[in-house]
């Protein structure tokens, strides 16, 4: 069918322009609530422009006109069927922190459990390697200051008469926060490698952690080890777990085809959880960065080990309570989430 393009465009142009006006207004303020009249007008114009597009598609009309109408219809479709408007709750930080985040963590507990298991396996491997062959430290440890004798390091730290981080604490904290956040987000992103990259990264972190722990324990510096690592480690290590948990949630959505849903549908179903877990990991790492810079690096006699260990244990207990209990509510089936 060939339509009279000139007359067609002239007759419909006012409607197209009106539709563009409404959509631009919506774009400027997506949260604005439409009145019933405005909603009706949008619906009417959407149907009308869609009908025009159907006519143009079936005719020999110019591609530019078709593109324009396609874009209009697409934008109106998104506006009508999208969930950003009335169907979406605005972001409430407190609600997110007290309810959404812990519920998300618990909902994805299997992925969290897997991150812990993989890390423990890595720790066993790293610890065993250092216990059997002390030279393995050189292959495992990424930081030069971990290659020396633990007892020498402890003696040096405890004999320090001045604050070695004086004038560097904020910079060091910033360095820790950004570096650890990048590593954690990388662990998340590697979920797209079917989770293989995430698991390798977790295992490697576990290897380092196990190697350091066994190295210090064998040297008789267990108290120092806990005093040094617990204050920031009880938050930093779970933060990496949470980031990797998000990666494994992504991975499961990528690989699990059992339910017959398309990849896009599976990923769309978990994208909110992945973003929530990414935010949680970043927040935890900010806290851990502060603690590591301002507390963990100070040892006896400046700060008693028992105080640091107690602080770490308290942090850990609070984190467990928060992730395990916060935002719990009874579901319709009688269970709890």
């Amino acid at each position: 069918m060939i339509i009279n393009l000139e007359k067609f465009a002239a007759a419909e142009e006012p409607h197209w322009r009106r539709m563009e006006e409404i959509l631009q207004k919506r774009q400027r303020d997506p949260w604005a609530v439409l009145t019933l009249e405005q909603a009706r007008e949008l619906d009417y114009l959407y149907r009308r422009v869609a009908a025009d597009l159907a006519r143009v598609t079936a005719s020999a009309a110019e591609p530019e006109l078709r593109q324009r109408l396609e874009r209009l219809v697409a934008r109106a479709y998104a506006e009508i069927h999208g969930t950003r408007g009335a169907g979406t709750v605005r972001f409430h930080p407190w609600h997110w922190l007290t309810t959404v985040l812990p519920q998300t963590f618990r909902r994805q507990w299997r992925a969290a459990a897997l991150t812990v298991i993989v890390t423990i396996l890595g720790m066993i491997f790293g610890g065993f390697a250092v216990a059997v062959d002390p030279e393995a430290k050189h292959a495992i440890m990424p930081f030069p200051h971990l290659l020396g004798d633990p007892s020498e390091r402890v003696a040096e730290e405890e004999a320090a008469m001045s604050d070695r981080l004086q004038g560097h604490k904020a910079g060091f904290a910033g360095q820790l926060m950004t570096h650890n956040t990048k590593v954690t987000l990388f662990a998340l992103a590697l979920g797209m490698t079917w989770g293989v990259g995430t698991i390798i990264l977790l295992f490697y972190n576990g290897v380092i952690l196990g190697a350091v722990a066994v190295d210090y324990m064998l040297a008789g510096e267990t108290t120092f080890l806990f005093g040094w690592l617990l204050p920031h480690g009880v938050i930093e290590i779970p933060a990496i777990f949470v980031g990797a948990q998000a990666g494994l949630v992504l991975a499961r959505a990528v690989v699990s085809r059992a339910d017959g849903r398309a990849l896009g549908v599976r990923l769309r179903a978990v994208v909110d959880d992945v973003a929530t877990l990414a935010g949680a990991a970043a927040l935890m790492l900010v806290w851990a960065g502060f603690v590591e810079s301002y507390l963990s690096q100070y040892h006896e006699p400046a700060i008693p080990y028992w105080a640091k260990i107690l602080f770490g244990c308290l942090e850990g207990a609070l984190l467990v309570c928060y992730l395990g209990l916060a935002g719990r509510k009874r579901t319709a089936s009688g269970g709890r989430i």
Partner: protein, 256 residues
């Protein structure tokens, strides 16, 4: 009812990314100058805020703008690109976060090679971040509707009064061919003279074959003029020939 999106190519996306990168660096040079002023009170504090600030600005730039501008950053605006949900729906904040978080992998090993290869190989031209967030990047070039302006519809058209010829032409001409003829006329000045002659000779030959015209209607008319006459009767029907469809109120040529 279906509508399509024009997917952005990896090249235009890379150009948008380069603009964004330059924007971030420019913004950071201003912000860092302000942060440096904190050095008056504490150099350590200024250094700490610098480190965190750069990370926040470089990572948060994409997230903040794509959310605020509904799938666009400055680079994407310049290149007429937009990120959207792959179903054509508006972006959710979580999608914006996830697609930007996955830049860590897409950017590997250099200049978004992983993301570029993924986009080239993928059916929807998605980098890994887009796959994870179920988003697509579409090209939204500004549309100029040409209409029939520029066709130079002549005052005299030998086909105009021949209703049976016009009806036959509308019946046997597929929309794509009618549009191709119209586009050929609109862009006639862009062709080399030889190519222009050949193009209109082919088009006129086809229309003459299918229209079964009386010889007097073709006398003294060049191929290009003949095609112009045909396009005019195809697209601009006489009032007596139009019918109101009742939906949009627009007249339509009879379709056999």
């Amino acid at each position: 009812m279906s509508f399509s999106f024009h997917l952005a190519t990896p090249v235009t996306r890379l150009a948008a990314w380069a603009i964004d990168k330059a924007t971030v660096m420019a913004a950071w040079s201003v912000v860092s100058s302000l942060i440096a002023l904190l050095g008056i009170f504490s150099e350590d504090l200024a250094r700490g805020i610098m480190l965190v600030g750069f990370f926040v600005v470089s990572t948060g730039y994409g997230i903040a703008l794509e959310w605020r501008w509904e799938g666009q950053t400055l680079g994407k605006r310049v290149m007429h690109l937009r990120v959207m949900d792959e179903r054509g729906l508006p972006l959710r904040f979580s999608q914006v976060v996830v697609r930007n978080c996955l830049r860590a992998v897409d950017a590997l090993p250099v200049a978004y090679l992983v993301g570029g290869v993924a986009a080239l190989l993928g059916r929807k031209s998605q980098r890994l971040g887009d796959v994870a967030a179920a988003t697509i990047v579409v090209h939204e070039a500004p549309v100029q509707t040409a209409g029939l302006a520029g066709l130079e519809v002549s005052k005299y058209n030998s086909l105009r009064g021949q209703q049976h010829v016009a009806a036959r032409l509308r019946t046997v001409t597929p929309p794509a061919l009618a549009n191709a003829a119209r586009q050929a006329l609109l862009r006639r000045e862009e062709f080399e003279p030889e190519a222009r002659l050949a193009l209109f000779r082919d088009l006129a030959g086809h229309f003459r074959r299918v229209a079964h015209l009386p010889p007097e209607l073709e006398e003294g008319i060049s191929d290009e003029q003949f095609v112009r006459n045909v396009v005019e009767v195809l697209f601009v029907s006489a009032p007596s020939q139009t019918k109101v469809t009742g939906r949009g109120g627009e007249p339509a040529a009879p379709a056999a």
